[in-house]
Structure formats: C-alpha cells, structure tokens
C-alpha cells in the first residue's frame, strides 16, 4: 500500500528526536566514570528503572509485531504477549536477586563470581554478543519497515537513521541517558495505548455497507468488462476480467458458481510492482491496494454497536463474524512473483482461540508432534526473558536488592497493562477497515490514523523511539560485554576507567554499524521470527548456567562454559536448519530442512542442562570442594 507522507508526521517526528537527543546530551554531561557509563552510578530510582524496564522490553516486536499479529490472526499474537510477560516471573523470582548480589556490570560477572575463569568470561561474553546482535536485527528491520511508509524513505535510509541517532545517544551518554530515554518511552507508550484503547471502545463495531468478502454471481462479474484467458490462471479456479480503466480484476471461483474478489500484487522480474494488472500508484491508470479489515456480522443482526465497555467489546467480538484476508504466493510462467489476497469469513470465537494463524495451526492438530512447535515456543518465551543480556544489565543500575524487587514489580505492572491493551488494539485494528493487507507491522499506526492524523503522527514518533530505546540498550549490553569481559578479563588488556569509557564508545559505534548493515541485509525477514530466535538462543545458552549455578553445588567452571557454548551452538544450528530459515532466509524449499519443527527450545534448553551436568561431573576437582559444597 502507498502511504502519503504527512508534513505533520514528519514535524512531530523530528521534534521527538531532537528532544530525545537533547535530553541525552544534557544528562551525558554528567557521566565520566566507567561505573557511570556502564551502570549509571547505581543510582537510578527504582520507579524510573521499573518503567525503563518496560521501555526497554517493549520493543518494535512487542508493539508493532504483536498488534499486527493479533490484527491479522487473532489470539495467536496474544500468545506472544502471554509468554513474554510470564518470563518476567522467572526473572523476578529466580534470577534478579542472585544476579544483583553477584556482579557489577554484566551477566558474565555474575556467572564468573565464583570461578574467576577466562573460559566462562569468554563464553558469556560471546553469548551476550550473539544474542544482542540477533535481537538487534529485528529492531533495525522494524525501523526500516516503519520509516519507509511514514516518511517515504527507503528501508536502508530508515535503518541508517535509527542507527545514527542511537549510536549518538549511546556514545554521548551511555546508560544514564538510555535509562531516561527508556523511561520516557515506556511511559508514553502505555499512556498513548490507553488513549487509543479508549477510542476503540468508544467507536465500537460497525458493519460496513459493502463487504469484499460477499460473493457475486459470475455473470455479474463477467459483465463488468472483457473476460481474459491465461494458462497461468486455470478457468476452473479463476475468472479474470479486464476493466474499462485498464486494470484487471481477478475473481476466485467458489463451489456454488459464485465468485469472490481478490487483490493481486505482481512483482515483475524488472522490479516493477503492479496491483490488479496496472502499476501501483495513486494517479490515473494506476491502482493501489484497498485497506481492509471489517466486521461482517454482529450478534443480533445490528449494524452498529455504539460505545462498548471493555468486557462487552470482547464478548461482542466473540459472537461476531469477521472478514479477514489470506495470502498465497505463486510464480507465473512470465517469471512474475504474484501474491493473491483473498477475503474470507471467520467467526470471532475462532479468532479468539489459539491456532487460528498459520504459525500455530499445529496446536489444533491431532498428534503431539504437531503441537511441539507451540509448546517449544511457550517454553522459550517463558525461559528467554530472564536470559536476555540487555534486560539483565539493567539490574545493575539500581542501588540494592530491595530496589531490584520494586523496579521489577513496577516493570511487570507496566508491561502487563500494555499487553492487555495490545489485545484491544489488535482487535480494533482487525475491524477498522484500515489495514494494509501486505504488511501486518503497520497495523497499530494505521489504526491510529483511522481515528485522526495527529494521533498517527504521534504514534509513529513513539514507535520510532520504541526502536531507539531497545536498540540503545542492546548496543550498551554488547559494548559492555566487549570492553569489560573480553578486553579486560579474557585478553587481559588493562585499561583505566577513562580508557574503558572511550573503548566502550568505539565498540558501540562498531556494533551500531554492524547492526545497521545486518538490518539492511535482512529486510525481507519476519520481525517476530527473529525475536523468537533470539529468545531461544538466550534461553538455551544462559538459563541452564544461571539456574544450575544457583541450585547445584557441584557445578564446575568447565560445566558452565560448555553449557553456554552447547546451548548457544545447538539452538543457532537448529534455527539455521529450520524450514522457516530455508524458506525466508536462503530462499530454498522448506521441504529440504533437516529439523522437524522450527523452535529449538524444547530440545536445546534441556540439552544445555544436560551438558552442564555431564561436564561438571567429569571435572569435579579432586580432594578440594567444588562450588558451594
């Protein structure tokens, strides 16, 4: 779909960025020491840190990805929200306090507090770098996806814009400014989503006069223009009618002899894009995709519900019928790659149950095997939150254990509230008639635009700072891993505080550049797929080491080192060999993929534990006691 650039959007946008940079610079003038740069002097108030947790955690994937997934597929998007939030319980009850008691700056410190082992430092630092990088890619891709339609820039420009702004923020001020950026972002996000939810409830549901999904008699369709024949479109399934204005409407034949209208996007070998047979555009002789998403039927047969309460909204949705859209891809004999979007009817009840989306369809299957992907993902999300290095690093920015608890509780409250709101945003978008059928990441901003343009401008800016905040946290975690763990402890390069800060800034720039390049290279990738990937790797690499260190006295340093590398390596290898990677990354046939399902967690997390136990048992120190014994 084509988005017309709005001057208002650009202005609000620029003002936001200027404000954020200004704040960052001003706060940065007070940061001079390594502890200040990396851990904000340990002085951030717990409430601020808690809301900053929310700002950090609620990345582009949460905000854009979950809303978008709910808007297109219903409940399955919400599964991500449930899993992500549940992971905070692991963080609060199992990981947060021990971590605070152990280390100073990074996750590697915590793991290594007992053993002083270079092996552990190396493993943990590599793990931090790998996970941070994989979490960075979807953020950068998300930035490009966001900027492109909003400001009319190319994907690469969007990625560059985010990369440059974030790197400037991180380099000028380190953790202090990013904490405040996160705090502002977290607060704005929740406040704004509350407003939008209120507006959705006020609007209620309306059935439009015309629904694309409503079938039409084949004769009526044929009379609109000239019927075309084409071997690529067999006559038993398709009806193509050339219209007087030059476009071609493609109808799908239904069993009862009627036809249903579709939208067809063709990507030609020379790079041009055609919609329904003519070039994509808004001018004469051009066509653009029609925005979609509607309620087809309300309970009781009415056409407009008026304002609804939050419970009523869900109940009415559950009893309604919704017009949703499916897509299928084909390659024509001419070499064009076409995507055909077809409307269909789904009951609200169906959409509010797990398994309505292609990704999770298996959960409704008959065999245990089909459900493994769903089970594995729910495990990885639950275990992954507490294992993310850029979350863990935030535990070092508060004063003490009591502050850790308070800030995590505040964080859970803010994040939990936000996720409940995404349910309303997603369902509201699904029925708004404003969705871009080709791009589910834009569902939330487009929903806002269906209410008002200024609202759209603001949400675009907030979404942008969403990416800013998460990316800056990630770059910091990665930079901390390199300077503090790799340089100082593994390679024994001695630096004084001042040099460490400088090194940290150079590394931040380097990581920023790598992330930008990857974000540009991975443009076509699905954002949620990558985030799920990062969670699997984080949980497989970090969680076994953390947990066993706390609960099993016979854990040895070799056990920890091996467990981290085994978990990280196996989950990475699995993902790279998955059907989804084959299809979306390499462009190969998914049938060739060697692994049976896409989420490795259910295999690689236990594997990490197993490796740790086995290696530890083989490396028990003779005569002396092992950790904690």
């Amino acid at each position: 779909m084509i988005y017309v650039t709005s001057t208002l959007a650009v202005t609000v946008f620029v003002c936001f960025i200027v404000a954020v940079l200004g704040l960052s610079w001003w706060l940065g003038r007070r940061t001079h020491s390594a502890s200040g740069y990396f851990a904000a002097h340990g002085q951030i108030p717990w409430f601020v840190n808690g809301v900053a947790f929310a700002g950090d955690y609620l990345s582009a994937a949460s905000f854009l990805g979950i809303c978008g997934m709910i808007a297109f597929y219903g409940y399955d998007g919400f599964l991500y929200a449930i899993g992500y939030l549940a992971g905070w319980i692991v963080a609060l009850f199992v990981v947060a306090e021990p971590l605070k008691q152990l280390g100073r700056y990074t996750f590697a410190d915590a793991l290594d507090a007992r053993f002083q082992s270079r092996g552990i430092k190396l493993a943990a630092a590599v793990s931090t770098l790998v996970v941070s990088l994989f979490y960075l890619i979807p953020q950068m891709v998300g930035a490009g996806v966001l900027i492109k339609p909003l400001l009319g820039f190319s994907h690469a420009t969007g990625v560059l814009l985010v990369g440059v702004v974030v790197t400037v923020v991180v380099v000028t001020a380190g953790m202090v400014s990013t904490t405040w950026v996160q705090f502002i972002k977290g607060g704005l996000l929740v406040a704004f989503c509350l407003l939008l939810t209120f507006m959705i409830l006020q609007r209620g549901f309306r059935v439009p006069d015309q629904l694309t999904v409503t079938p039409v008699a084949a004769d009526v369709a044929m009379q609109q223009g000239r019927v075309l024949t084409d071997p690529d479109w067999p006559d038993d399934a398709w009806l193509r009618v050339a219209q007087p204005d030059g476009s071609v409407v493609t109808w799908r034949r239904l069993p009862d002899g009627q036809v249903r209208r579709t939208q067809v996007v063709a990507r030609r070998a020379d790079g041009g894009v055609r919609v329904d047979g003519v070039p994509q555009g808004l001018g004469v002789g051009e066509r653009d995709l029609v925005p979609v998403g509607a309620v087809a039927a309300l309970p009781g047969g009415g056409r407009d519900t008026g304002a609804l309460g939050p419970l009523e909204f869900l109940r009415v949705f559950n009893e309604s019928t919704i017009e949703t859209w499916t897509s299928e891809q084909r390659t024509l004999s001419s070499g064009d790659a076409v995507t055909i979007y077809t409307p269909r009817l789904q009951t609200g009840a169906d959409l509010l149950q797990p398994g309505a989306s292609p990704t999770f369809r298996g959960v409704r299957g008959k065999t245990l095997f089909e459900k493994l992907d769903f089970l594995s993902l729910m495990l990885a999300l639950f275990a992954g939150t507490a294992s993310l290095p850029h979350i863990l690093i935030r535990y070092y920015t508060v004063k003490d254990v009591a502050a850790v608890r308070k800030s995590t509780v505040v964080g859970i409250g803010a994040i939990g509230l936000f996720y409940v709101l995404t349910l309303y945003l997603g369902l509201g978008a699904m029925t708004s008639g404003a969705l871009d059928v080709t791009n589910n990441n834009m569902a939330a901003p487009l929903l806002a635009r269906s209410f008002s343009d200024p609202l759209f401008a603001i949400i675009s800016a907030i979404a942008f700072t969403t990416v800013l905040g998460t990316v800056s946290g990630l770059i910091l975690a990665a930079s901390g891993a390199v300077v503090h763990d790799l340089l100082t402890h593994v390679l024994h390069i001695e630096l004084d505080d001042h040099e460490k800060v400088r090194a940290g800034k150079w590394v931040a720039v380097l990581v920023g550049v790598v992330a930008m390049l990857l974000g540009i290279a991975f443009e076509r990738l699905n954002v949620s797929f990558l985030v799920g990937w990062a969670f699997n790797v984080a949980a497989s690499a970090n969680l076994p080491a953390l947990v066993m260190l706390l609960f099993w006295p016979r854990t040895t340093k070799q056990g920890i080192t091996w467990a981290i590398f085994a978990g990280m390596g196996s989950s990475l290898a699995w993902i790279l060999c998955s059907a989804q990677a084959f299809r979306d990354v390499y462009g190969w046939s998914p049938d060739l993929a060697p692994v049976p399902f896409s989420q490795p967690g259910i295999v690689t997390i236990p594997l990490g534990f197993l490796v740790l136990v086995v290696v530890s048992l083989f490396t028990q120190p003779k005569g002396r006691t092992a950790a904690g014994a």
Partner: protein
C-alpha cells in the same frame, strides 16, 4: 547467594498455572472455547488472568519481603 523460600513457592505456583494454560490450549482446546463468565471465552480469561496473576504475585512478594 540465596533466593528466599517464598520466591520459590510463588514461582512454582505461577509455573503450575502457566503449564495449565499451555496444556489446556494444546490438549483440551474445547475447554478454552467455553464461555464461563460474561460470555467471554476461557482463552481470554485465562490469558489475561496470567498477566494479572504475575503482577499479583510480584506484589505479594514485595509485601512479604519488606
């Protein structure tokens, strides 16, 4: 390095409830489709409930460890 006992109890409780959610969704989907309260499906009640429950347990923990 210690974790307070109450933390482990609360964690185990949450884990049980979470496993209940995942288990029912995967192995007894018809149960999730029922509408026990106010016409709302169990999937919604349980899902939102998990989110609220997390916050509740976190609050209890804060209270208990003051």
């Amino acid at each position: 390095m210690t974790i307070p006992r109450i933390a482990l109890w609360l964690f185990s409780l949450y884990l049980a409830v979470y496993i209940g959610f995942v288990g029912i969704s995967a192995f007894a989907p018809a149960v999730m489709a029922r509408t026990p309260i106010a016409g709302l499906p169990l999937s919604i009640l349980y899902g939102v409930g998990l989110i609220g429950f997390a916050f509740l347990l976190a609050g209890i923990y804060l209270r208990a460890t003051r």
